[in-house]
Symmetry: C3
């Protein structure tokens, strides 16, 4: 309908909202992201997030990567916070510099626009305390001055920063169907599908491993580009969907599967098979029984991490071909496997029969990255967040984002780079210094 009335120079977009649960944004259940995005020309997104000492850039990056993945292209941040948001009792004003750091972080994910909600604070009604760039007094204020600085810098740097492209080797394979099914059949009162997506994403983010988001609508050619997939509980999926993933592994792909994957079909009917159903052979293990838990110690193969615990859910896995990476430390169920790994065709699968504690999960993720030969980004060792891509001029652009209250400094890794905001050049080994909540943008020499 909209297209009937649209002029040729007009385009269709929409501001997607992510779901906010206990202060953490993640995939939401009330819209099928990829299906809805098919009808847009340009993806758009609203990104609201914690601030002050809780500002860590994760939500900006996650929401940005998801928005970029919707059309596999640059996107618009249609709304984001200017001053404080939410109701009058939850007002959190950004620290000086945070708004600017946020704006560049959006660009670093591939945004082509940053729009604030909104120009000036409104004087009546429910959103009175969703504060705009201007306060109710309509006068310049510290936030206004920070926005003015951002605008002037971006005007100058526009051609270097706009249209950033990414070529990622890793994707999070999500499922709106599984998310909805697991709302009806929850995992645990302390862990839901969105938490798992968020925690996987955070672990990648902290390791500076860039990723895309894909789902079952991914094209064959795009799927083939990835070296490794991370699959949150794929609770509801058709036989065809699971077989396609089996094929991805057979052809050399790596997959990290989460518990409950393959349990039900596309109609949320439980499979009449040994679990995990169609995935059984690829996983190299099966199970018939399971148990809700709070925390249970694991006996983990020394190669990985000597320790760690099982959380929320345990499947009593019996390995067939798979290698056992961890077993449960339990009087009666100590013989069952908790985590298995299996080679299948040219590829490999890691299957989590439980939700491992953070360090162990990180260790398992990094084990897969290494075995899948996923490249580390430049400057990944720096005490800052690294986000990178290729700009329209074909140059490699590396954002170094200091999400902390401390100034940081570390040596330049490149032979020669130009820092775009200051215009300064740095040679290998020269010290890069970044103030609290500040950033650098390095243009690498080709």
């Amino acid at each position: 309908m909209v297209r009937e009335y649209a002029l040729p120079e007009q385009f269709v977009t929409q501001n997607f909202d992510l779901s906010w649960r206990d202060g953490s944004y993640s995939i939401q259940s009330n819209v099928d992201h990829m299906e809805a995005a098919r009808h847009l020309d340009i993806a758009g997104v609203d990104i609201y997030h914690d601030t002050q000492d809780e500002l860590d850039g994760v939500t900006i990056a996650l929401a940005g990567d998801l928005a970029r993945s919707m059309k596999q292209n640059n996107y618009l941040v249609i709304e984001t916070q200017a001053q404080s948001i939410l109701t009058s009792d939850k007002q959190k004003l950004h620290y000086p510099g945070q708004l600017r750091l946020q704006a560049y972080s959006h660009l670093a994910s591939g945004a082509n626009m940053v729009g604030y909600w909104h120009w000036h604070s409104i004087h009546n009604s429910y959103e009175t305390y969703w504060k705009g760039v201007l306060s109710h007094d309509m006068q310049p204020n510290p936030t206004y001055h920070e926005v003015a600085r951002i605008s002037q810098e971006l005007k100058r740097l526009n051609d270097d920063l706009i249209g950033l492209k990414k070529h990622n080797e890793v994707a999070i394979y999500f499922s709106n169907e599984s998310l909805s099914a697991l709302e009806a059949f929850p995992i645990s009162s302390g862990l839901d599908y969105g938490d798992i997506v968020r925690q996987y994403y955070e672990l990648l983010y902290k390791q500076n491993i860039p990723c895309d988001f894909i789902d079952h609508t991914v094209s064959e050619s795009q799927l083939r580009k990835y070296k490794a997939l991370i699959v949150p509980p794929l609770y509801s999926a058709s036989d065809e969907e699971l077989k396609r993933l089996n094929h991805f592994v057979a052809e050399g792909g790596h997959i990290l599967y989460s518990f409950k994957s393959g349990f039900t079909d596309e109609n949320v009917q439980v499979r009449r098979d040994l679990m995990p159903g169609v995935l059984r052979e690829v996983v190299g293990a099966n199970y018939q029984q399971f148990n809700s838990i709070e925390v249970m110690p694991l006996v983990v193969s020394g190669e990985i991490l000597p320790g760690g615990s099982a959380n929320h859910w345990m499947e009593l896995l019996t390995p067939t071909n798979g290698e056992v990476l961890a077993t449960y430390q339990h009087d009666y169920w100590g013989d069952y496997a908790a985590i298995v790994s299996n080679t299948y065709g040219k590829g490999e699968v890691t299957y989590l029969g439980t939700w491992p504690s953070g360090e162990l999960l990180s260790s398992l993720l990094m084990r897969m990255m290494k075995r899948a030969s996923v490249k580390s980004p430049d400057h990944a060792g720096a005490p800052v967040t690294v986000r990178a891509g290729t700009n329209r001029k074909g140059k490699n652009i590396v954002y170094l984002l200091n999400y902390s209250n401390e100034a940081v400094s570390f040596p330049c890794e490149d032979r020669l780079v130009r820092e775009l905001i200051s215009g300064n050049s740095y040679r290998k080994g020269e010290l890069l210094e970044i103030a609290p909540w500040d950033l650098m943008i390095l243009e690498q020499s080709n």
Copy 2:
């Protein structure tokens, strides 16, 4: 209506459910147990309960004793858990051996059938995670193998175990009317009528004192069989009902009364008398005022237990003929009695003006049992749960149930017994050994 269509060989039953509050089953308010049971041929009951380390057999015993009391006869366990029950986030799989221990525990209370909910796990809809004997895969599994073992044993032992009869000297005298009235006029946010029933029952269970459940519909001949009654708050009762209990005491019976007993009549109208109204003379004390409390120390008569506290509710008792067993330790109310005891006719009453802490309550219960000359069961000193009765062959059958993660052993108390499952015989002093979550069934020589 059902009877009109029933064939001569058919019978009427019904699966009663107990009320579950914070993981504890007790009497429920939404049905008048005894009145409803009048219309059945055979009592039936659904018994679901905690498992794993929380399995203690109390709910199985309580629900079984109540079901047996409904028709004063053997009953059917129409539903009980096979694998885990409840929603997907609360799955608790029994430990090996627990299912078998449970099945025998049902028989030990007088059950003539144990039916599982259900044969196989269902593949759709709300009860997807009420797991059957089979998982969704429809294959044999550890639970199936345990059920198979139970079936084979019971087939063999059927004639020895079925139709177990009990002849108990103690009854819990409950009141659906008081339960409902105390939902409208609650005792405390931390204690309700069901908690009190449950806590009384647990104390008896831990002392291996068997009991029946009765209410105001009990026949004169049955009432006369009991040496001692335990009465949870009999908040709503007619003058006639209270006078009948007074008469029971006059004739030599013992009663432990709880606070609030006698406060209102059968229409929940408060009596215009010094409290506890019609019970005043039998109790040997009265009160005009009361007070909600959390915890308050008691000064307890040395004969009973040197310590203990008042909880939830305090009545400011003034003794008349009664002996004071405890007073409140309080600056302003230290002269009032908290617990009194009184002989009346040939019998005796203990009245609790407050809810004593656990050890003190147990001590008061055991004091009444001793003064009422209630017999201890055989093997009551063993570190296991003891449940006993007479089978159809007229033999005394004693179940020794090991509700723990530890193996236990203790000497045989009888001159000569036959253990029915193994067929072994034991003489006095020979060691009986029971594995974790296992049991013995002793047939005593007459």
Copy 3:
């Protein structure tokens, strides 16, 4: 309508209820106290409150001062608790003496009647446990005997105690409009308008500084009588209302303003001004931005109190003419003022941009009292609550109320006083001794 049918000797009254939130009574939002009171002949009030160890007299005094302020005259306590109140699970019986202390405390605020809810406890329905002077047994009991003693004493002392008048120099200036607006736009989940009124009142009460309650309907002549006003967040107020308060200061008055005052107009539309809008010049500071906080340390001017914290809400104040009394201790916002003081015309304003911790708030209040030359009451140094006034005989009457479990004694401050209950006389320096939950009433010599 009522007046059409009223006989000449009849009068119109109404039992106002205060709002109870988490056990603290305060101003309520569902009635405009002053507007409603216009239609009455005599103000009436229901006063229910905590008892036992929580009894401190604050609610009796606050509700009494508010009721007296409604008609600037004596009032009736139409309902107050006899024995325990509330539902069956929240019964709290007063300690011996507390009921009598309460009755005299009502008179000490200017009550001309104390009516109990109710004569006898009712035997049915929801208020079964709102216990009357008599219990359900309709017999004399300790509460009855205490009421009888009160009645006999009051009969004897009637002419000395009835019709007590107050001439206070301080008023709490409240706003039903702001209270309602701040329910829609809350300050914090832990602090609302009623809490602030209550906390201001408590601080005055603990310092024995008597006060009235006024709102925007106060007459010019009455307003002029006050030396100092305490203004809880005056969030919604017309320009006229604010200008009148500015004029009060210009003419020599003192005002303690709370954050958010002046933020919106009488239609809860936010002002398009630097905040606090119309109050800006009087306050001597302004702000554009603010922030929700839990606790933040303050740097406080040594003259006042070396320490204290900001709570719930912080306005980033920039002083113009005002003197800075406190700044925020914060990495980024340490230059902003938290509390300022400003002379304006012949008067002075203290403005709180945040909610100070208790001791600091008390210190700020007392600073204003001193600078406004507010008189301390007689016996204000005694370890008891002091409430005073002038009786119909023109005598000064001082109530010394011992709200504690301890007996207290202290020397007489007056040259010669008569204690009305005992009839004893005391000379300066003679020891006044008061038992726990007891009192003295001193008639001072003119």
